[in-house]
Amino acid sequence: MNSRIHRVLIAAAFLAIAVHAADVPKVIRLGWVGNKNNLASTGGIVGYAQETQAWEKEFAKDGIRIEWNFFTGTGPAINEAVANGEIDIASSGDLPSSSGRSNGLPTRVIVGGGADGGKRYILVAINSTIRRPADLKGKRVTFQKGTYAHLAWDRYARDVLHIDGEKDVKIYSLIGGDQDVALASGSVDAIYGGGLDDVDRGIARILDSVTVDRYPTVGLNAGSTYATQKFIDKYPDIVYRWVKVYLQIADKIDRNDQKPLLRRLGTKDGTSLKNVIAAEPPDSRYGYLPIFDDYYRLSVEKAIKDEVSLKLIRHPYPVADWWDRRFYDKAFAELGLAEKWKDVLAERAAKLETLGK
């Protein structure tokens, strides 16, 4: 009898362990945009987290592994992996993330964004006869279609050049490294979104630079960090802890003493320190802090509206249905970020006018 009770107790213990084990995943699979030098690293908040193993440390006690995935094919490749159940949490630019959602990809945005596209350059060959942006009409322009650059170029063509970005130039869809080769070989006339390293190497010169201050309707990049609905439903506590670590790092980076490490991370893909610094926006807090506010919401809504009007996506969708703010709001309150980031929040609220509130 004792033996039978013993066996029942052991079975119950194993059952309890099994039930408990089902509450946490074995692995959290992250999908992020890769870089043209094919290195498995990134910069910014997530690069900082990777370097300091912040999520690895957070989830080590539960035996949860962090799997990093950096996609050379950028946003479209991330969408493919998410659609096929290979990624749990991912981030990509405004066009790829919203085009996925537009077609029914079951994702929910769990972290707000800065909505600032940073500083992007339009490069032409060093010996090009193109002297001003208006000369781009009828020329050959390259960027990777389906990425943030696709929407940004179409906006630039519409609002700055006053032409049709799809019809009035010849577009070549190439990934980063191939763009450099194409420009150097004379196969294209311009790169939209090129890096300053091409300028340093003497193969390109800057035709124009795009920032949200210079071109408010073009310089936005309302990218999204999202989790799959399946992962959220199954592991809500894990999502909350992941978001909280994300915000903790953002808060830590918000202090200037973290900038040296961030800049070093920015050089890991081969970009020179000088150019990493040059690409920084005047106020990195304004540009990069992950904030769920009206500025971010309007940026995303404008992106969706533009994507529909420019025929980059077919089906518009309400932003509110895409967002799942529960985890962010709880962590934001617990970390007291409303007080710490109040000046940034105020600045962004003041800038709403530029978005056409």
Partner: protein
């Protein structure tokens, strides 16, 4: 990188910089502090202020060190290029596939057939003969050699291919012309790749040991294939392209893979495929219906010396002999002379496929006619009749794993990544070689599994239950195979 041009120039520049530095009285240049866009000084992790590296002059030791490293690299690559590096005139990608198989067939002598074998060892060279940097109207080539079951290697897929239309954008329509030895654009399985054909052996209609199978449909031949597609449904959010209509037209010798034609007529193959205009995340992605047609007129050789037996009839007695029978030979035996017939083969194919990882399904139906020879007792000569046959095949297989996602394969990785995944499948197929004659039909049910454990390596296990009309259902086959390569 062209080291032969680049390195000497770099060394010369470095040398000039060094010599000028040695000649001139060194002066300490003004070193600017590195500042961000707000004008703040930039520090490293220890708090040490950084300087603008573009303003710092290298020391003599720095320059000498750099020169030394460049010379070392130059020496290394010069030696490697001359002595240990294979070189070609054009870009080249080499690939190989090797199969090592164990086969066990029940109730086939001796007394059960079982053997190790190397069914295939292939080596393929592919590359560009001309790269169009602007429009990507590239000129490609392929040259492969297959050795089947240890036989001498023969050319397989030896052709030149030109992209007539620009392939610079996935939204563009496509038009290619391929000239040389290649597969016929018929059906799904005859031209399937590994991803579409999970089983070790092909379907019965391509492999059955019957007097009349359709194995030539999956064989290669020498000729011209034009492929085109249009109305591409493009989803840039996934870098996805699915043409609504695609097709191919081909002309071949019709005599076989590596032989000259033996008659005036040629073999013609046509195919059209339709797919719905959908985005990547649509449930109908990967769905396609197709139709194929193949016609070949060729000489059918009838070997001479065929002995035609005398015709014997049985006659019943009458009257008092009514209980008796008599065998009467009505004609003498005859030996037929060798002959040839102008025989026409026609194949009509219809197929349905749904390739949408993880669930994949293919089904196809083939109806074939072929002029065949028969002996006419009345005319005492060979004549022809049209043999009609039908075959069908359906396969269901599951692809669960990252390696089936093209863009996921191209992730940035530091290690030799490849997931350990399984691909279970089941296939039903049958063939009736002659629907007008009591020729035995055959049917096979083949479940199996493929286990992928390295980027170009998989282990396959198939069990195939086979039944022929009028035969006991004991012809079970067990196949285990490693397929590997580079």
């Amino acid at each position: 990188m062209n080291y032969g041009v680049f390195l000497p120039r770099l060394i010369l520049l470095a040398g000039l910089a060094l010599s000028s530095g040695l000649r001139a009285q060194p002066t300490v240049p003004a070193v600017d502090a590195l500042t961000d866009s707000s004008g703040n000084r930039v520090t490293d992790t220890s708090g040490t202020p950084l300087t603008d590296s573009s303003k710092v002059l290298a020391t003599q030791a720095d320059v000498l060190g750099a020169i030394g490293q460049i010379v070392n690299v130059d020496n290394y690559y010069s030696r490697a290029l001359q002595f240990t590096t294979a070189q070609t005139n054009r870009p080249l990608t080499m690939s190989a596939t090797i199969q090592t198989r164990y086969t066990y067939i029940q109730d086939q002598p001796p007394p059960n057939f079982n053997t190790f074998s190397m069914p295939l060892a292939s080596l393929t060279f592919q590359g560009l003969l001309y790269k169009d940097f602007q429009e990507s109207k590239n000129l490609q080539y392929s040259l492969g050699f297959n050795s089947v079951n240890g036989a001498a290697p023969t050319p397989a897929d030896a052709y030149i291919l030109y992209n007539v239309l620009s392939t610079a954008d996935i939204a563009n329509p496509s038009l290619t012309i391929a000239v040389g030895q290649q597969k016929k654009p018929f059906g799904v399985e005859p031209q399937s790749t590994d991803a579409q054909q999970p089983s070790i052996n092909s379907s019965l209609y391509l492999t059955a040991s019957t007097p009349f199978n359709l194995s030539d449909l999956s064989a290669r031949d020498i000729g011209i294939v034009v492929r085109a597609d249009g109305l591409a449904s493009v989803d840039y959010g996934y870098n996805f392209r699915q043409p609504v209509i695609s097709g191919a037209a081909a002309i071949f010798n019709g005599a076989g893979a590596n032989t000259l034609d033996n008659n005036e007529s040629k073999e013609y193959t046509f195919r059209i495929q339709l797919a719905p205009p959908v985005d990547y995340y649509n449930i109908l992605r990967g769905l396609a219906v197709g139709a194929s047609y193949d016609r070949n007129d060729r000489f059918l050789a009838i070997s001479g010396g065929t002995t035609v037996p005398a015709t014997t009839i049985t006659v019943k007695g009458t009257g008092k002999d009514s209980t008796k029978t008599y065998a009467i030979t009505t004609a003498a035996a005859k030996t037929a002379a060798p002959d040839t017939l102008q025989a026409t083969r026609q194949r009509f194919g219809a197929d349905l496929s749904y390739i949408r990882t993880p669930i994949n399904f293919t089904a196809e139906f083939v109806y074939a006619t072929q002029d065949s020879a028969y002996w006419s007792a009345s005319t005492r000569s060979f004549g022809s009749y049209q043999r009609r046959s039908v075959a069908s095949s359906a396969a269901l297989f599951l692809n669960e794993g990252e390696q089936y996602l093209l863009q996921t394969r191209n992730e940035s990785r530091l290690d030799d990544w490849w997931p350990f995944t399984w691909q279970p499948f089941i296939r039903f197929d049958e063939i009736n070689p002659d629907i007008d004659q009591p020729t035995p039909w055959q049917v096979a049910i083949t479940p199996g599994v493929n286990i992928f454990f390295a980027r170009t390596t998989k282990f396959q296990f198939d069990y195939s239950w086979r039944k022929s009309e009028g035969q006991p259902a004991k012809n079970a086959q067990y196949l285990a195979q490693f397929q590997y390569g580079f």
